[in-house]
Amino acid sequence: MVFRSLRFKLTLWYVLILGILLVSFSSLLYITLSRSLYRDVDNRLRSLAHLIATESGSPSSTFDFGKLDQAVRATLNLRPVGKFIQVLDGSGNVGEKSENLKNVQLPISLQALKNASKGFITFETVRTFGNTPLRMMTLPVIEKGNMARIIQVASSLEDVEDALRTLFIILVITVPLALLVASLGGLFLANQALKPVDHITQTARMITSQNLNQRIKSLKVKDEISRLIETFNEMISRLDQSFHQIRQFSSDASHELKTPLTILKGEVEVALRKERTSQDYEQILRSNLEEINRMSKIVDNLLLLARTETGEIRLFKEEINLSQIVSEVVTQLTKLAHDKDLQIVATNHHEDTLLYGDALRIRQMLLNLIENSIKYTEPGGSISVSLERNAPHSLPGKEKGSYDGVKIVVSDTGIGIAKEDQERIFGRFFRVDKARSGEQGGSGLGLSICKWIVEAHQGEISVESELGKGCRFIVKLPIHSHTS
């Protein structure tokens, strides 16, 4: 768990990169330094050997090989500290040597001799000589075509190796130490940076449908984390809102169902308190049936709306004759209107208006709209249903030429809808006047369903109304060719 955490991964990467950097840097340092130190040693050996060779080889030379140390000191005006000098004759026998060699000889390898005979210089590192390794140069001196002598100059590598060893030890100790400190620091920084993430996790874990009003505390600094917090909070707000809508919906739905239930329960209970005549029972049963039908209607509408939301309901679109449907629906509702002493007129300027749509749903939408008008119009009023073809230019709000459609207008002389309610009437369970629709058995869902049907046909529905004078429901449906 710990090893999978982001802070561990971040620290690990950080330490890994730092480690690679430190190790490469240290290696480079070590290699460069050691090369330069060895080159220095070689250079010094070479210049000393050449000096001796030049001094001793000149015709006016006073260089006395017999007193090598003094000669070197006198002629070269230098005192070569820690340098071993040895001179061999042309055939390789050891001749003079510096005093610091005492009774030992510098070794000479076969390779060096062979090189010398060809006139080449040889550098070698000798580890068999005493306690410390020795850097040695073998220089042949050629006089008159023959090898006159061989000059060997050597220097101890002790100082160089000591310096390199010290450097190595320092690096081996400091690099891991630096990495350790860096990893602790990295962990601390990662912790600091990720602390708000823990806070987010905790709050998010605590949030359930019961406490969606909670929010994650936002940070003062506006960084990536604070943007994450904002995003989370916005998401919680949206969830809160939709939960609220669901709660509102179920509370509205149960409230809607409670009225018919109250009536059923009350009427039956009152009826059972006494013996009744069969006419009484019949009347009660009829009333009960009405309430049962009302409940079925509410439940049907609720189910329909719920299914439209989940997209379970598909429209079965085909070519339909809208003019025919309008006149059929009007005919169907004429009796209902006349029973309430209402005039109902249908006007249609076209014999056939063909539309690509779902006949069942269009019919349902028209039924809902006209029934609504009948419901909310006082006896003596009138209802008119008109169907018009729209020329494209008659809809200024639409893109030019792209719209070809029909307009269905259902208008009545009813009680009307107040301005502030006009927006809300397409919402669920919204009723301008609960009492009026209650006795008609409305569910408060009819206009919601109409809106869904119209929108599922890519149309739009709107209402114009003046309180007390009536209202006009306007449905605009586009005519799509069924090939599109």
Partner: protein, 223 residues
Amino acid sequence: MRILVIEDEKKVATFIKKGLVEEHYAVDTAFDGEEGLYLSEINEYDLIVLDLMIPKIDGFGVLKKIRERKNNVPILVLTAKDSVDDTVRGLDAGGDDYLTKPFAFAELLARIRALLRRDKKEKESVLRIADLSLSIVTHKVMRQGKEIELTSKEYALLDYFMRNPEKVLTRTMISEHVWDYHFDSNTNVIDVYVNYLRKKIDKDFDPKLIHTIRGIGYMMKKE
């Protein structure tokens, strides 16, 4: 006992009225807040059954207005919402009790009875004067151990007399508490019913309990 039912759902109002009338209450109904307020102002009710969701003036508004008029009539609130908030609001606005829809009719009756005896000294469900007793639950009327059969109106009249013993009850008071809105005050219906009642509870018994106060009305007392 006269009750006003303010309920916009006509069928609910109708069955409540029917049930209450069969329990010998005189019942008026109003279908919106305005009508309810008007009726509660012109008549003296013993109890009001009030639905909270009613048009024109909602239940809370009706409660507030009734209480502003210093009218202490017991009010039973009906609500379809069972949220605690609504209940608390209803009771705080001046409701005396509440019932959520759908309710059991027997419970409505029991709560009405409880509210009606709320201000009475005795909390018994049987009213007594001398050897006459009336059970407000079973509606059984007994005198000297004999059960007396009464019609609905006679029962309502006796109930009103027995709830107000030793008080002069004018014809107006009797009409307001025993008859409903449709009572025609120009008739002598009250005197006729008082006589019917006398025949049943006083004629064969002593002492006589219903006394005529000339020019004013009637009073029930033991001698």
